[in-house]
């Protein structure tokens, strides 16, 4: 398995014009601090789950922004909600709520498309 294959990317390159950013917008509404990320990586570096597996909360947030939402649900099952990421974030982003918000909205998304 390729090192970067844990999250399957949908397209070879990103075409911003055709992205489905519905999920992103819902999450941004629920947790506005999500908007302030500078991708410094502090969250991922301190992550408890990241010590054991390829869980990367910064990468997940970025993928959400680029409409790559296929494997997010499975990845987000790995979060222990320990809160270290929220405690180190230099932009005061409430990451625990971002994770919960993405999970809840993915669920709603799935329910509505059934």
């Amino acid at each position: 398995m390729g090192d970067l294959d844990f999250i399957k990317v949908k397209h070879l390159h990103i075409n911003y014009d055709i992205l489905d950013l519905d999920l992103l917008n819902k999450v941004l509404q629920e947790e506005t601090s999500f908007q302030w990320c500078i991708s410094c990586g502090c969250c991922t570096a301190s992550c408890s789950a990241g010590n054991h597996t390829t869980f990367n909360v910064r990468r997940i947030s970025l993928l959400l922004r680029r409409g790559e939402i296929e494997s997010l649900e499975k990845e987000l099952e790995k979060c222990m909600l320990c809160g270290k990421c929220t405690l180190v974030c230099p932009r005061d982003i409430q990451l625990r709520n971002v994770v919960m918000s993405i999970k809840k909205n993915i669920l709603k998304y799935k329910m509505s498309s059934l």
């Binding site: 090192d3 970067l4 500078i38 991708s39 410094c40 990586g41 502090c42 969250c43 991922t44 570096a45 301190s46 992550c47 990241g50 010590n51 390829t54 990367n56 910064r58 990468r59 405690l87 180190v88 974030c89 230099p90 932009r91 005061d92």
Partner: protein
Amino acid sequence: MKKIAVIGGGVAGLEVSKQLLEANIPVTLIEQSSKIGGNIKNYAYLFPDFYNAEELLNSYHYLITDPNLQLLLNTEVAKIDFSKKTYNILTKDGISVPADAIVIATGYNTFDARLKEEFGYGIYENVITSVQLEQMFKNKEIKTPSGKIPERIGFIHCVGSRDAKVGNTYCSRLCCVTAIKQAIETKKLLPSVEIFCFYIDLRMYGLLFEDLYLSAQRDYNIQFVRGRLSEASEMLDKRILIKVEDTLIGKPLQMSADMIVLMVGMEASDFSKQFKYHNGLEVNEHGFFNPINPHNLRNLTSKDGIFLAGTAIGPMSVGETLDHARGTALSVLSFINAN
């Protein structure tokens, strides 16, 4: 004859005093420590061209013997009385300094890295600040605090800056270029050392700064990892284990190093903390003094006769500080001539 008081004997205060003295205006210079020079005494060589900081400071030495300069060393300001037309500065020793115009050149404090506990400063011995490293350049010797010659050094950018968790959300501007400068200097002293800079963004804003960055990579093999340090831990042999995310690859990265250098930012000085509620001395949300605007009135405050010079208004390089101070001196002269 108008009386001018300059609070702060760093390069800003010295430059303002120099300009005023050259115009035959007497100046009282109040400095809290036992020597003039302020923060520049901590620097060995200045970016971007490795100019000798001590030489620059020495160029102000002659002012001490100027008969028109009243130099008050070891003097701290206790209170400033703005109630009358001629202001009165009261020092902690009880000396009264009347002044028609006051120049606030009180400089900056470096961020206390102990507040960023997860980086281990003050807890693990091989974690030092950029200020301590600069001292090593003065002594022309780089050793870890445990006395070893380091084989690998990590430079950590943005310590105490751009960080809501320590109350400083602003960028301290100079630390990125200082890190590269220090990386190069370290490599010059220890050609076989491996150096890694851990950054979020590289703020190479000055004309020659980007060249310095290229030189660091091309000539000195300094490596750059885009990832902010989240926690440092100590290994059994007291070496430091760095944990970052290599955001460009998208994976957590850990690395052992003999020593890590924390690039501490500039913070508002103790003086601004003490006097922030004083009449007319406005301090902005980052704790630095506020000039009337950041464009054409950068040396004036909203209070008549109170002027600002240097890093009292925000992080600046030495060159920028001197530019600003000259502007302040000119503003003071205009003020004197107008009244």
